[in-house]
């Protein structure tokens, strides 16, 4: 075979266009994502001394946040609050999203698109607007909440939920659920639509009721999507800030009962009222948030996703 007729890829010639096409994304991603991330991690190893100069202090900032009695109480309070915030989303938002998607995919349903649009609508609203509206609705002084409950004779159940330490965080989490439930619904609905109708027919002929079809056939087949929705929920919950800030301010009251990682970071970095801001301690909180999210995502990638098989439909 002296003369191979098969065309060979000449990598020296191919290199230029390959890099030319990769460059824009690489440059933009590096400048706006990788560099700030690395720089803020770098910043967490310094402390500012008088005159604004930075001194390298190693892991001192981490020792302060996790070891100092005052700081660590605040940090762990925010961490556990954030876990509760996430738990409410996992226990309420995602099951409701799955249920809504299951109902939407029922063939007998009328006005399917109307429901879909209405449920998805709040996700398009600004978080600040949603927070403000709910604050008004739930206000014990002029809110419509008590009146609406009165229609059903349930006025006695009403309480100043946003103002009580025990219920404020749950209430805020439920407001967030109300706003975002359309996202898991849409993703799972799309996954349900991809299940061939023959499969459902076969299960019906095998004697399955609608619920059994869902439990034994549809649910196992959308599990990978549910896992993906869960990790998206985790990431967005641990990055959450705006709703708490718009309803409760950076102090995340009452008595820090609604303080989560985002609000803690904000107070630490910028300062608030009597607290002085510290960019280096703020960068430390941000780095800790990054580590928490990284651990969660790695757990998803290496434990959850490997056990879930996607089935060829």
């Amino acid at each position: 075979m002296a003369h191979s007729t098969r065309p060979m890829t000449d990598w020296r010639k191919a290199k230029l266009p390959v890099f030319a096409f990769l460059a824009p994304a690489t440059i933009i991603y590096t400048v706006f994502m990788i560099y700030p991330l690395l720089d803020s991690i770098r910043l967490s190893f310094y402390t500012s001394v008088s005159g604004g100069d930075l001194t390298f202090v190693g892991l001192d900032n981490y020792r302060t946040i996790l070891g100092d009695p005052g700081w660590s109480a605040t940090f762990w309070n925010a961490f556990w609050n954030n876990m509760k915030f996430f738990a409410v989303h996992m226990l309420v938002q995602n099951p409701i999203g799955i249920a809504l998607a299951a109902v939407l995919s029922l063939p007998q349903l009328k006005l399917r698109n109307t429901y879909r649009t209405l449920i998805f609508m709040p996700t398009m609203l600004s978080v600040v607007v949603v927070g403000f509206i709910w604050q008004l609705i739930l206000s014990p002084v002029w809110g419509v909440g008590p009146e609406i409950l009165d229609i059903f004779g349930l006025k006695s159940l009403f309480g100043p939920w946003l103002g009580k330490e025990g219920s404020a965080l749950i209430t805020l989490a439920l407001i967030s659920v109300w706003q975002w439930v359309g996202i898991p619904m849409m993703l799972i609905y799309a996954a349900l639509l991809a299940i061939p109708e023959d499969l459902v027919d076969a299960a019906v002929v095998d004697g399955a009721s609608h619920f059994e079809v869902f439990l034994h056939i549809k649910l196992p087949l959308v599990l990978p999507t549910i896992a993906m929705v869960s990790i998206l929920t985790f990431v967005s919950n641990f990055n959450a800030f705006d709703l708490i800030y718009s309803v409760k301010g950076a102090l995340a009251g009452p008595n820090f009962s609604t303080d989560i990682m985002g609000t803690l970071f904000y107070r630490t970095f910028f300062g608030y009222q009597l607290q002085l801001g510290s960019p280096t301690l703020g960068a430390t909180v941000a780095s800790l948030m990054f580590i928490i999210i990284l651990v969660g995502v790695l757990f998803y990638l290496f434990v959850v996703q490997r056990r879930l098989s996607r089935y060829q439909l």
């Binding site: 061939p196 023959d198 499969l199 027919d201 076969a202 299960a203 019906v204 002929v205 095998d206 004697g207 399955a208 059994e212 034994h216 056939i217 196992p220 087949l221 098989s309 089935y311 060829q312 439909l313």
Partner: protein, 372 residues
């Protein structure tokens, strides 16, 4: 196992009528094939029997009970789908056990029934595999196994062989025939492939545009099609048709004039009011030959030659522009462009009136009327 009765079954989707009153009796243990072109309503009819579609009008009876509003699970049916519809997240064993598990069958019986079905279908070694790890033919067998374990009164097959390659299709067809002999169950089978219909069925139901054209044994349909549609649909290559004019009628005899101007006497019972009307004459390609004797003849030029080994199909263009297909023996050396002259027995002819209804044929020799 059970008998099945369809009484004036109608189906409409909104204003569109898909089935216009289908009557059918299926006896216990019978293998019935629904055949017809796409869109004729055969799959809809099967899904109605399965309970996957509502009935717009009429009654469906299984074993004497009206099951119109019963859910599929209460009808005692099992169905095999064209796409196999195996549950992708379940092993072969679980796929077959699913129906029994839902019916809360006890474990020992469930296991015995699944293993028994697996043995019949030679799936023993594959029970732990997922559908994705199986070949097309194996998936097909699992789908059939899933139906068998439920021991249904009626098996429903919806074009089960369409997704298999040609060789496997023939093999699976034989397996299904053997399975029917073994299980002696009532089977309703939908296909658009008339060879599947001819080879498998005890009884064929030819459907066209939501109507039953004819019900009968394969040979009955082949030799005595009641309508022009059935005549054209059953048999491959399709029957040749040409328009002829009736010139004279005697009891049991009809004289027609062919487009070529020749006259021929055919053994049909035709009433005198048909004299002078145009009717359609049909002859199957295999009943026409170059070296045959016969009252009917055509002359033309060969346009296409298809060599199949054992036989050769000649596509001939007649002087009046009509095209005729005929079968010649495999050693035939005729080439494209040659002039040929073919003949056929008058007894091989079929005659259809303007509405496509067949005229009754009389004193038919064995060759053109063999029945089981």
């Amino acid at each position: 196992m059970a008998d099945l009765k369809l009484d004036q079954i109608r189906k409409s989707y909104g204003a569109v009528d898909v089935l216009h009153g289908v009557d059918l009796d299926v006896k216990d243990g019978e293998f019935v094939v629904f055949v017809g072109p796409s869109g004729c309503g055969k799959s809809t009819l099967l899904r109605i029997i399965a309970g996957l579609e509502d009935i717009t009008g009429g009654d469906l009876m299984i074993d004497g009970d009206i099951v119109n509003t019963k859910s599929p699970r209460d009808r005692g049916i099992a169905m095999v789908f064209q796409s196999y519809a195996l549950y992708p997240h379940m092993s072969v064993y679980k796929n077959m056990a699913f129906g029994l598990k839902l019916a809360k069958t006890n474990k020992a019986e469930l296991d015995e029934r699944v293993r028994n079905a697996a043995k019949i279908l030679q799936l023993d070694a594959l029970l732990d595999r997922r559908p994705a790890e199986l070949s097309g033919g194996q998936r097909q067998r699992v789908a059939i196994g899933r139906a068998i374990v439920r021991q249904p009164k009626v098996f429903l097959f919806d074009e089960p062989l369409s997704n298999l390659d040609a060789a496997l299709r023939v093999q699976t067809r034989i397996e299904i025939a053997k399975l029917h002999q073994k299980l002696k169950s009532t089977i309703i089978y939908v296909t658009h492939d008339q060879i599947e219909a001819m080879t498998l069925a005890d009884k064929i139901v030819v459907l066209n545009a939501g109507n039953v054209e004819q019900v009968g044994s394969p040979m009955e349909l082949y030799h005595h099609p009641k309508t022009r549609f059935v005549a054209g649909f059953i048999g491959s290559p399709a029957m040749n048709f040409t328009r002829v004019t009736i010139t004279a009628v005697e009891p049991g005899r009809v004289t027609v004039q062919t487009p070529g101007g020749k006259s021929a006497v055919l053994p049909f019972e035709v009433t005198t009011d048909h004299i002078g009307t145009e009717v359609e004459l049909g002859i199957r390609p295999e009943h026409m030959g170059l070296d045959r004797a016969g009252e009917l003849g055509v002359d033309g030029e060969v346009e296409v030659v298809e060599k199949l080994g054992d036989s050769v199909y000649l596509y001939v263009r007649l002087a009046n522009g009509d095209r005729v297909t005929l079968r010649a023996p495999g050693h035939c050396r005729i080439k494209i462009g040659e002039a040929v002259s073919a003949r056929a027995d008058a007894a091989a002819a079929h005659l259809f009136d303007r509405n496509g209804q067949a005229f009754a044929k009389l004193d038919c020799p064995e060759e053109y009327s063999a029945m089981e």
